[in-house]
């Protein structure tokens, strides 16, 4: 196989997989609606709306995580 052919295959596979991942993500977002911490994605809008330093974080980073 010459370089152009390799390129063509690599290319196709990568594009196809990225497309699948993107659609997988869309499917995931709209079926699950919540992320791993059980927070509804739409609640994340509050990160902008309630952004004073004294406001409670939408999902706080606990001390034990890194």
């Amino acid at each position: 196989m010459d370089i152009a052919q390799l390129q063509a295959y690599g290319y196709f596979i990568l594009t196809a997989s990225l497309v699948i991942v993107l659609y997988g993500y869309i499917y995931h977002l709209y079926t699950k609606k919540r992320d791993a911490d059980g927070v509804d994605y739409e609640n994340y809008s509050n990160m902008a709306l309630k952004d004073d330093i004294v406001d409670t974080p939408v999902s706080a980073k606990s001390d034990k995580e890194k």
Partner: protein, 230 residues
């Protein structure tokens, strides 16, 4: 997987990078070797021409003039044969431009003369009534930087194997050798020889005197470059 990425900024950044770098890897890298092979008739720039190219770049001529003839009848009628990839093999950087406020210059050497350029650069409206191009009078007094042009020749010969002092095939079956000096002094002497030919066709007495003194005004280098575009 998705949850995880959203909360791990480092891996998130890696993910973003993969997605954006991907197009560049596939689109740009693979054709590099092919596109830089010169076609027959393409020779490297001489020292004076290269100095003229630097004058062209210094004054951003490429902001208003393209150097790319597209394959349309209207363009080949106006400017000559459409551009071929290999013709640009020695163009570092490329000067295709993105805007034609003025006409294309890729083959300007075929239909304009030293005399025409001299008048035009001094006062564009004198040869092209209605022109919006500014005059470039300072090019008649500023000196061309031959040393930098020579340094560039050395660099491209050393790093990119540009064939200076070697014979390159021409369209009519002959060959041509573009000379590059062995030292700074020799490079300047070669450039001056070329400059004398240009200056002989010019009217401006100051320019002629300057060249006779052994110095090269920017305008002479620029005209040498423009004449080389064919």
């Amino acid at each position: 997987m998705f949850h995880w990425l959203e909360k791990h900024p480092f891996f998130f950044a890696v993910g973003v990078f993969v997605v954006i770098a991907f197009a560049g890897l596939v689109e740009i890298l693979p054709n590099f070797a092919q596109a830089s092979r010169p076609v027959i008739g393409t020779a490297p720039y001489s020292t004076l021409e290269l100095a003229g190219r630097h004058v062209y770049i210094k004054n951003s001529c490429n902001a208003c003039h393209s150097q790319l003839v597209r394959p349309f009848k209207s363009e080949t009628d106006r400017y000559g044969h459409y551009s071929l990839s290999g013709e640009y093999a020695y163009d570092r950087p490329f000067l295709w431009g993105s805007k034609r406020t003025g006409p294309d210059l890729w083959r300007v050497g075929n239909y304009r003369t030293t005399d025409w350029h001299e008048n035009h650069m001094k006062n564009p409206a004198s040869v092209v009534p209605g022109s919006v191009m500014p005059a470039y009078k300072w090019m008649f007094s500023n000196k061309a930087d031959i040393n930098t042009a020579f340094a560039e020749q050395l660099t491209v010969a050393q790093y990119f194997s540009v064939p200076y002092n070697q014979s390159v095939p021409m369209k009519d079956g002959t060959t041509k050798v573009v000379k590059m000096g062995g030292s700074v002094a020799e490079a300047n002497a070669i450039a001056l020889e070329e400059a004398k030919i240009i200056a002989a066709d010019m009217k401006d007495q100051d320019v002629k005197d300057t060249v006779a003194r052994g110095e090269i005004p920017e305008i002479v280098a620029l005209i040498a470059y423009l004449n080389s575009l064919k």
